[in-house]
């Protein structure tokens, strides 16, 4: 089953009907699950939406400037004045998270979408390209994936200096090849399916086949992969800041907030727990949303 039904399909009646024929009533369990999926979706949407809002308006709500030294107590606990305690230098943790979330959410979202778009796009199209072109594309991505991301980051920062677009470029270069790998193997499998072969014999164009026959059938895996890439990118950003490529002090993304306060872990400082939880909720929320999106596409068809 696939989502073809939701997309009008003027030319190709035969394959569609073929699959309609095989589309059979499904038993009770799935119907029961749908309500749960709804719930998951709302949770995902709620959590992720919350972080989007924080990213947009967080800095306005921050009680202190993120770089201000407000307290003499380092790794201070939860208090009325500092609801999330203070960091290793006595700065207000709540303000730092509210300001830092913008970098993490924005950068990771853009980088994950771009990686998946580039990776999956090439992965899908290359299957339909002539053999030699497909091979060349694969060589390029295989080469990219074999270059250590630290080297890539270092050379980029030394050549172009540190900036946000550069950070995104470095991230995409590290993560698009993986997305390509997955998408390519999915597409190769799908390209052998009867309905794709039929479309070929019908004389459909490559783009049409890619968009109408292959893409809808691999969307679930591609989205799942993108969700994972989002997580990896959120975590990668802190490493990049460490190399001087990322966000410049006193600002910090969520991963860097965890890293710079790691010294407080043994005393259970809220300064390290809070940003870790922030990363957790952000990435889990995003993945729940993605899961429910792709699954709902499947259920819509019924």
């Amino acid at each position: 089953m696939n989502s073809l039904k939701t997309m009008p399909h003027p030319k190709a009646n035969t394959p569609q009907r073929l699959r309609h024929g095989s589309h059979l009533p499904v038993g009770a369990p799935r119907r029961r699950n749908r309500r749960r999926l709804q719930l998951t979706r709302w949770i995902g949407l709620g959590v992720f939406g919350f972080w989007i809002l924080v990213a947009l308006f967080g800095p306005l709500l921050a009680p202190h400037p993120m770089g201000a030294f407000v307290s003499d107590q380092m790794f201070g606990g939860i208090s009325a004045a500092y609801p999330l305690g203070t960091d290793y230098m006595g700065r207000d943790m709540l303000s730092r998270i509210l300001t830092g979330a913008r970098y993490t959410v924005g950068l990771a979202l853009v980088a994950a979408c771009l990686s998946s778009l580039i990776g999956a796009g090439f992965g899908m199209l290359s299957v339909l390209l002539p053999k030699w072109l497909e091979e060349s594309v694969r060589r390029v991505f295989d080469t990219l994936i074999s270059i250590p991301s630290k080297m890539m980051a270092l050379v980029m920062v030394s050549a172009f200096g540190a900036s946000i677009p550069l950070l995104i470029t470095a991230t995409v270069l590290s993560y698009a090849p993986g997305a390509f790998r997955i998408a390519h193997s999915l597409a190769t499998n799908l390209a052998t399916m009867e309905y794709v072969q039929v479309a070929h014999t019908r004389g459909e164009g490559r783009l049409y086949i890619a968009a109408r026959e292959i893409f809808p059938n691999m969307i679930q895996s591609v989205l799942t992969d993108m969700g994972m890439r989002f997580v990896f990118i959120v975590l990668l950003l802190s490493g990049m800041s460490f190399l001087g490529l990322g966000v410049q002090p006193p600002a910090a993304d969520l991963g860097s907030l965890v890293r710079e306060n790691i010294g407080g872990l043994s005393q259970g400082a809220i300064a390290v727990i809070a940003p870790a939880l922030a990363i957790g909720t952000l990435t889990i929320g995003a993945n729940l949303l993605i899961d429910s999106l792709s699954t709902s596409r499947a259920t819509q068809k019924e």
């Binding site: 998951t40 270059i147 250590p148 080297m151 679930q220 895996s221 799942t224």
Partner: protein, 318 residues
Amino acid sequence: MRNTLFGLVAGRLGASLLTLFLVSLVIFAITSLLPGDTAQQILGQFATPEQVAALRAQLGLNQPAIVRYWHWLSGFVTGDLGQSASNGMAVAQLINDRLPNSLILAGITTLVSVPIAITMGVVAAMRRGGLIDRLLNLVTLSMVAVPEFLVATLAVLIFAVKLNWLPALSYVSTVDSLGDAMKIYAMPVLTLCCVLIAQMARMTRAALIDQLDSPYVEMAQLKGVPPIRRVMRHALPNAVGPIANAVALSLSYLLGGVIIVETIFNYPGIASLMVDAVSNRDLSLVQACAMLFCGTYLVLVMLADICAILSNPRLRNR
């Protein structure tokens, strides 16, 4: 079919050589682009210009880039990996000292993580939307959502510092018995599993669901084929391609990407060798490590593709 497989492997090996060559070119270019050269890095903060010049001459850095590259390449092709510029030891020796450690860690992690991940993915796909599915989903997501260095540091804090059950550092040299080995590898493997399982389990689930939704599996369901058999006999074989690729991608991480684990547990592996080599601009060592990582990756994805082809007869004719 044996012929097609053989042809594929031969073709792939050819393509791999090409990729290796491309990678070596790019790595060479990047290393040359990086600010500072070996001589400066060796001499450090307080180098004088005369010393840098002398060391450059000694290391042959005055030759044009193309000559140096050719020198390296001709050596590499004949099996001579060259000498490390930073300490004069043979690159082969340096790699030989560390590679077994990396392979053991990667091997154990694979043995632990792959079965767990695939089982989790299959179970989740079978119970799609159910409680187990959602629970597994949440567990895998939470595991991967915690930064690696936090997991590792927390594990050390609990198991080594507070409880004193395990050593905080993983010294291969002190292994005498199986018990020792388990103690040493417990935390690094745990940390790496947290990173890897999520990706593999989730991709397994997604790929299986794509298949379970397909007409032929629904047909099987109608015919009354029990769920476990539906998954194992009908859906799984067709999902092997993407799953194998996800596994290959995850495993390729185990050699070059485990720098955080190597750093925190002070495990002498190949990833930290590479990082040292990059910061020392130690070209032949960087190249050797890069060739190793790239080669491993290519072998892994080739295995993944072979798995895919064996499981999908239609691909064999492509």
